[in-house]
């Protein structure tokens, strides 16, 4: 018998939560019996998306913002949604261009989206300026054994 599975967490947008966020998603993904490389991919992609919420989305916010992470497993595919209610992105195409960063003074490399793209099968970014951003990462995992 197969059931879809999911979890949802919300975290304050604090940098000390970056490691917890990627660990939580990779622990959830473990039920699909991923390879060590796949776990590394998932951790890197989640880390990039969550860091962007912390570094960019709430950069001008007077209060600590919220990051919402939803992960869903359907068949052998993991869908991860990382959402903030921050400043949004005016020009998504420009934002996703490798090496583009709006914060060079903070030593951002402008490679977050490039890492997400290379680590996932699919990357979708939707954003409304002033309202927030949602990044959806899709990772296909070839289950060694269907439960």
């Amino acid at each position: 018998m197969k059931h879809d599975n999911y979890f949802k967490i919300t975290l304050p947008a604090l940098s000390r939560n970056e490691s917890f966020a990627r660990a939580a998603v990779s622990a959830f993904a473990a039920q699909l019996d991923p390879t060590v490389d796949k776990i590394g991919d998932i951790k890197a992609a989640v880390s990039e998306a969550v860091t962007n919420c912390i570094v960019h989305a709430y950069a001008d916010s007077p209060v600590v913002g919220v990051v919402e992470i939803t992960a869903k497993i359907k068949d052998d595919t993991l869908y991860i949604k990382i959402r903030d209610k921050g400043c949004g992105i005016d020009d998504i195409k420009q934002a996703m261009t490798p090496l583009f960063t709006s914060k060079p003074e903070e030593e951002r490399a402008g490679l977050g989206f490039a890492v997400m793209e290379s680590c996932c099968d699919k990357l979708k970014v939707t954003s409304t300026p002033g309202k927030g951003t949602t990044v959806t990462l899709t990772v296909r995992l070839d289950k060694k054994e269907l439960a």
């Binding site: 940098s15 970056e18 990039e48 030593e107 490039a114």
Partner: protein
């Protein structure tokens, strides 16, 4: 994450162990920059053999230190990066900074 700084000849080796993300990078940066300011080493080597996780914040860390060392004629290199670190470094087009060599050991420092 831990960072250990080893001075030898006119270089500094920064042995980074554990996870390099945006949170950890801030601390690593502070420790290394303090040493750079005092010693202006001609070569800063990041020993990344013990890095268990790295995202693009690690690239910002390397490039930021490269900017500082180059400002006084120095350079940076990345020694024996672990597979996950190597992957991000290669993706960033920085594989020319990678060097291979003997594992750093503090006890052998002069």
């Amino acid at each position: 994450m831990s960072v250990e700084l080893i001075s030898r000849d006119n270089g500094i080796v920064a042995v980074i162990t554990g996870e390099i993300d945006h949170h950890a990078a801030a601390q690593i940066r502070t420790e290394i920059d303090f040493a750079l300011e005092r010693q202006t080493p001609s070569l800063l080597i990041f020993d990344m053999s013990g890095v268990t996780f790295m995202d693009s914040s690690g690239i910002g860390l390397i490039l930021g230190r490269q900017r500082i060392t180059e400002s006084y004629g120095g350079a940076v290199a990345v020694k024996n990066p672990s597979p996950c670190a190597r992957r991000i470094i290669t993706l960033a087009g920085l594989s020319t900074l990678i060097i291979e060599g003997k594992k750093e050991n503090k006890n052998e420092a002069r």
